[in-house]
Symmetry: C2
Subunit: 467 residues, 2 copies
């Protein structure tokens, strides 16, 4: 936004946050929640009314513990800090942002203490994005991911590079990428009567209302992989949104179970569907016809090798599938340290570089490519990063379970059948809204509580180091 | 928007309209207005407080007379009708839209009667967009425009066609149009510290908040004129917004005097600046360098002839400067007849064609090119069209007055000086917000009440029929 517009936006954000806080902590609202809680509506604890009032109570109890001043201040500071971050990144000037980062973490500590926790402030924040998840569960998940993925990434480093280098950085005309992308989205089940696809600077999926899910996509003339994988990612989010019950719109029963579960759908459709052999057995002939100048004589296998190249780098949003969770691991380690006061903003660049060198074997050449690359912290999103990896974990478990029940999904994809998988997910995940927590949904659908082993097996199986 | 999203949007629009109505007619709000009205703050009737409370009182009195049911129903029906219109236009199916049009005009009659009027329902609606203007004043303005412009258009029809035909439908690469456009916007005084320029499907200018004015522009590879004139139009709106006092943001003192006055700035910068010899004496060398493939050997005069070609057609938004007000005249005639009940929707296509044949000498080949071309009525904007012509009228008067005071503006433009004009307008118009009505501002700045003769003289002078 233009520099002179920032101040007013911060005031507006702060005012709105305060008004929302007042409304959601209104004593009359609490009374109404109470009336439902004491009524026969909640006898069946899985009824929509019981689920809704359970979730509204949870939100009310959390909100009630926050002082209005803190809510307003956080909204104001993060509105200003987002702009500072964006300028700091542009100018590669971390020190301009550092004091704001410290301030945001101080506000987050205050918020965590106000909400309450069992000694771990991080839990109070995490719970906001991934209800029920705790710091110690997270530590286990990431320990396992780190232990298994670091060696895998090392072994794969640049393995398929020579064969396919440069193939996907040839010029793929944008208008044809757009046409191809939209036909893929429709084939996967994105309903264009209840949604739209447009182009945008940052890819997104957003729900405007029932019957109106918007996708903003971006294509790159010389980075075909980023465009199509980004599309599949957002389509995954959109299938979840379009799979929620319209009758429950505006209530917890009509909302996704958690951010991690939402991300699981994005990552599942992006990686487990969109990188698969079956998917490209179905779509590659069409792709090759559309881009015959660049794909003439390129075998489907060579194309897929290029798409699935593992080459750890310093930028999260450009990461391959295998190293992606290590980027998240690093952020989670750092935000926990920043929150605990074990790390100060001023020391972040060095800590960032050390972790990248240790776990990914790469070093950002500047802060813009390092600790300034993501805007999450500037927006006050602390405890949010884990949901990316939880999404990968849930997605791999769900995909494996679907395959056990439905038979080879690769064969289905090759035959152009994406509906079997989508219907399975609709039944097991989407239609439930927030009836169950993400962990409960995963366990009910797969027979196992959330656990990274399905993800690790999936990656090890699809990225054999012998190649 | 996607078809399935419309219903919910209509419900939301209706609910929001109802809530806004409740808040703006709250007895406590009336009491507060009253307190200020009876205080010493309004002793000086031109003080910001006096102006603000005068305008808030006007809005309150109007709103109070409307039943909430009508406000909600109008919001709901127009939200649905906009979508129906958009589909009807796409399918060239006027009959699908006709019943909605009758319904909207019925609601408008109800609104006019609720608000109150002296026998002319149209006045009650017009007053919403152009405070103080009446139907009978409007009739005089349009009678004069019609009487003078019809013969001028006839005499000019296709006059400069042969010399310049096709010149501006050559291919002007979009990226360079964008760069050229942005340099023009900056040169005219659009402040990029307090605004942004992006591309959009429909050109617009909107105020997000103080210090944040957004322009959405559109360029056409084979219609250079439409892109640059559209840009100048929106920049005109933007200069007005950026010229309002930020300290008065959110109050009538910080808002434009009227829609007609807003449009006057768009039309002044588009036509009286952007089509002038001086403007292109300054910018043509840069333009020619940027588009040397298409403009090599094209003289500035030939270029300007192509830009200023008069060739009446059936589409308002593509109209040349001379015939533009006749498009408006036709719409105003028709909406007055529709409101008065002298014309029913079902007879609109024929009435539309007859007026186009009579006043512009052209006949739309279908309804999509005829009475379905504009979305205004579907959105409930009745009494809005006149503000386009009032804008032309005010703009021509203001421009002539500025020139009398400042000396030749053409010479100023040729020297790259657009600031003298902008500062004059800032002083005479922008900074006043709603301190005065549009008519008062025009009279104070030009010495004459609003009157179309300056516009007619300007057009006759700049489009000599002897050529």
């Amino acid at each position: 936004m233009p520099p002179h517009g920032v101040e007013h936006r911060a005031e507006q954000a702060s005012l709105l946050a305060g008004i929302l806080h007042d409304r959601s902590t209104d004593p009359r609202y609490a009374e109404l929640i109470n009336v439902v809680e004491e009524s026969s509506l909640v006898v069946d604890r899985k009824s929509p009314e019981a689920v809704n009032v359970r979730e509204l109570r949870r939100e009310y109890d959390r909100e009630r513990r926050l002082p209005r001043r803190l809510v307003e201040e956080t909204a104001r500071v993060t509105a200003l800090a987002s702009q500072i971050w964006s300028e700091a990144r542009r100018d590669n000037d971390f020190m301009a942002f550092a004091p704001w980062l410290d301030r945001i973490f101080a506000l987050a500590r205050e918020e965590a203490d106000a909400v309450g926790h069992n000694g771990t402030q991080y839990d109070a924040l995490l719970d906001y994005y991934e209800p029920g998840m705790t710091s110690s569960q997270l530590s286990e998940v990431f320990a396992s991911l780190q232990m298994n993925l670091c060696p895998l990434v090392d072994a794969l480093r640049g393995a398929r590079r020579s064969a396919s280098a440069g193939l996907l950085s040839r010029e793929f005309p944008l208008d044809r990428q757009r046409l191809f992308g939209e036909s893929v989205a429709a084939a996967l089940g994105f309903n264009l009567q209840s949604g739209r696809i447009d182009t945008a600077h940052h890819p997104f999926c957003t729900l405007i209302g029932p019957g109106d899910v918007r996708l903003g996509l971006r294509y790159y003339a010389r980075n075909f992989a980023r465009g199509i994988l980004g599309l599949l990612h957002e389509v995954g989010h959109a299938l979840y949104e379009q799979g929620l019950e319209p009758a429950h719109y505006g209530t917890p029963m009509g909302e996704a179970a958690s951010l991690g579960m939402h991300e699981s759908q994005a990552r599942l459709w992006e990686n487990l569907v969109g990188r698969s052999e079956g998917f490209w057995r179905h779509f590659y002939p069409q792709l090759q016809r559309s881009f015959h100048e660049v794909l003439h004589g390129v075998s489907p296998n060579r194309f897929r090798d290029a798409l699935n190249r593992v080459n750890p780098g310093v930028i999260r949003v450009e990461a391959d599938e295998v190293s992606y969770d290590l980027h998240i691991f690093i952020r989670v380690e750092l935000e926990r340290a920043l929150l605990a006061g074990d790390l100060f903003a001023v020391d972040l660049p060095q800590a960032w570089s050390e972790l990248y060198a240790r776990h990914l074997g790469v070093t950002p050449k500047n802060d813009r490519m390092g600790c300034l690359q993501d805007g999450h912290w500037s927006e006050g999103l602390i405890g949010y990063f884990p949901t990316y990896s939880l999404g990968n974990v849930y997605g791999a478990q769900l995909f494996a379970a679907a395959e056990r029940e439905l038979g080879s999904l690769d064969d289905a994809f090759a035959a152009g059948d994406f509906d079997s998988l989508r219907r399975w997910l609709l039944e097991k995940v989407y239609r439930h809204g927030q009836r169950y927590t993400a962990a409960t949904i995963v366990e009910a659908a797969t027979g196992t509580a959330p656990d990274p082993s399905a993800l690790i097996e999936s990656l090890a199986g699809r990225y054999p180091t012998a190649l």
